[in-house]
Symmetry: C2
Subunit: 351 residues, 2 copies
């Protein structure tokens, strides 16, 4: 027995929904509809458009950098950005800090039933813009919808793959006494943008997140450094204090920084004072630290200052033989103190 | 001014916690402690042990498969497995379905404050076992902790990277009329294990999830097929019905299957009947579909049946010129019906 179904159509209408329904995560027709209406228009590229369960990528011989991060920031829209661009930029930065050139990202969404479709559009549009700006492609993805109350609005995981150029081997283990610690700009902008937004604080100048993709800056730096960059790190959760503590521990060396050299915007400093928060521990999302051989540091600084994301780059300290494993800071008062690894959570859901 | 801090130690004790605290997601000392105590003992490998923000991988020239999935299954422990091994096996399978050999996985956790540390250990241990069984390494990760009520216990994202052997180009676009549709075993086990667990149903034989890594099976099949495999797919969310509908649509061909050929365990069939669920739409987590050229299908079947995960492999249908874009089934009664793409969500949070 056989029939001709060639003129058959789906008997159930696909409806426009103003909010996310559980069925949008079903793997069925409404999932496909969500992908076609929301994700594909923004992320369209030849790899993603195949809509296979995995992306197939052509890579040349060599080493790849691979990184993952889930973004759970609260609020999801904040001054200077939203969770979407944060998710794109953050994982690009993790790949870039290896000296790698970020190429491809995955994007996996967990969305609460009832989430606004308009907000989802806005978030995805911001992701697409951020991806274009940074020159990466989102090539594979996943969407899960959970019942109301099972997650707070939306969480986004991005994982990233990039190629590491031949001869580039960055690691905190390479740090040598005398290496200069370079910081690309003002600290604590992202964390304090989130905090002041949550607390309803306002200042004459609005505090905005510094979320940005740093892969352009790192490429410029690597070119200028002629092999003189030992390590790079984006000081996100735990801030500059956590990143430099980790470096000191990994390298088995001391790191000494000068408080007066560390740039903090006046409005950020004011907010930190009001909330009793040390900017050294506050997350950044568009800044990097680099350890650079002293003979190359001026070239690296010059290259950074020529780049829009490194205009305020400064040397904030150096690697020392003394105090192995510790981060030590000369304060504005001229005293010296240990800047310890943060123990716990100053600012939950900052990224 | 300078001081000797070489004998200084952290003045705050790191305490053992029975539950996850917000500080475990801070990027500070408690995060580091969680990584060292829970994640590293299970996942230890030379790449991960570097604890950089990204993994650096050596890959040979060629194409890589890249996939991502977030697992939000509820309950997180279920007959036959838990969310951890599901997260490892699921992403391995997505990579393997491209014909790729899965090599490296990332693991990103979103954990609710107060989650049991013992449960986390159990989940991570299951992930490590699953990874070992499948021969992959977890090389990079991320942990976020959100306030109580902001997520339901634990969500896990895994992203996977694998190498695709030269000459292997699998895609549903390759399907030709006459190709046989092969299914590796019984359907609906995973979904019905979750559902009966949620509903508190019990049967004489317990229904267990079929969660398994299929990369060993796919390698065997590719070797036996001598180029005759057009496409492979693991029918997870939306089940066999969704996967074959997607194939029919992509290929612009019809797919015709025989209901009598599709193996379903009696206890699974009984549970489906009680709950009014069609097993064709139920998620599998250790089964695959393959479209195979007719001249190679017997070799592929023989190889599958020699593998523990393909013992019940059968031909369930074929690709047709008729009914392009549609999945059509000859029922047990001898009638023919369209098996449509599932519209919505039959079974939320199944994976």
């Amino acid at each position: 027995m056989s029939m001709d179904f060639s003129k058959a159509t789906c008997p159930l209408p696909i409806m426009d929904h103003a909010t996310i329904q559980l069925a949008h995560g079903s793997g069925g027709r409404m999932s496909a509809d969500l992908i076609r209406r929301v994700f594909l228009p923004h992320f369209a590229n030849p790899v993603l458009n195949l809509l296979e369960d995995q992306a197939v990528l052509e890579l040349s011989l060599g080493r790849i950098a691979f990184s993952t991060d889930t973004y759970v920031v609260d609020p999801i829209f904040f001054p200077g950005g939203n969770i979407g661009e944060l998710a794109i930029n953050g994982t690009i930065n993790d790949v870039a800090m290896s000296g790698g050139r970020p190429l491809y990202l995955s994007a996996a969404f967990v969305i609460e039933e009832g989430f606004s479709m308009e907000s989802l559009h806005e978030i995805v549009a911001a992701m697409a813009r951020a991806g274009k700006t940074a020159g990466i492609l989102v090539v594979t993805g996943d969407t899960k919808v959970v019942n109301r109350g099972s997650c707070d609005k939306i969480f986004i995981n991005t994982s990233g793959v990039g190629m590491i150029p031949e001869g580039v081997y960055l690691s905190a283990a390479n740090l040598c006494p005398g290496d200069k610690i370079v910081l690309s700009g003002t600290i604590a902008d992202h964390g304090m943008a989130i905090m002041t937004c949550r607390q309803g604080l306002s200042f004459q100048s609005r505090i905005e997140s510094d979320t940005a993709a740093l892969n352009g800056l790192t490429e410029t730096m690597l070119e200028a450094a002629k092999g003189g960059i030992r390590a790079m790190r984006d000081p996100t959760r735990g801030g500059v204090a956590a990143s430099l503590n980790e470096w000191a521990e990994t390298a088995g060396a001391g790191i000494k920084i000068e408080e007066t050299m560390i740039p903090v915007r006046p409005e950020v400093e004011a907010a930190c004072e009001i909330l009793g928060i040390d900017p050294l521990y506050v997350a950044n999302e568009g800044k990097l630290l680099a350890a650079v051989a002293p003979e190359n540091v001026q070239d690296v600084l010059a290259a950074m200052r020529d780049h829009p994301l490194g205009r305020n780059a400064v040397i904030i300290g150096e690697v020392t033989v003394d105090n192995p494993g510790l981060l030590v800071m000369t304060t504005v008062l001229g005293t010296t103190r240990i800047v310890d690894m943060p123990l716990g959570e100053q600012l939950p859901r900052i990224c």
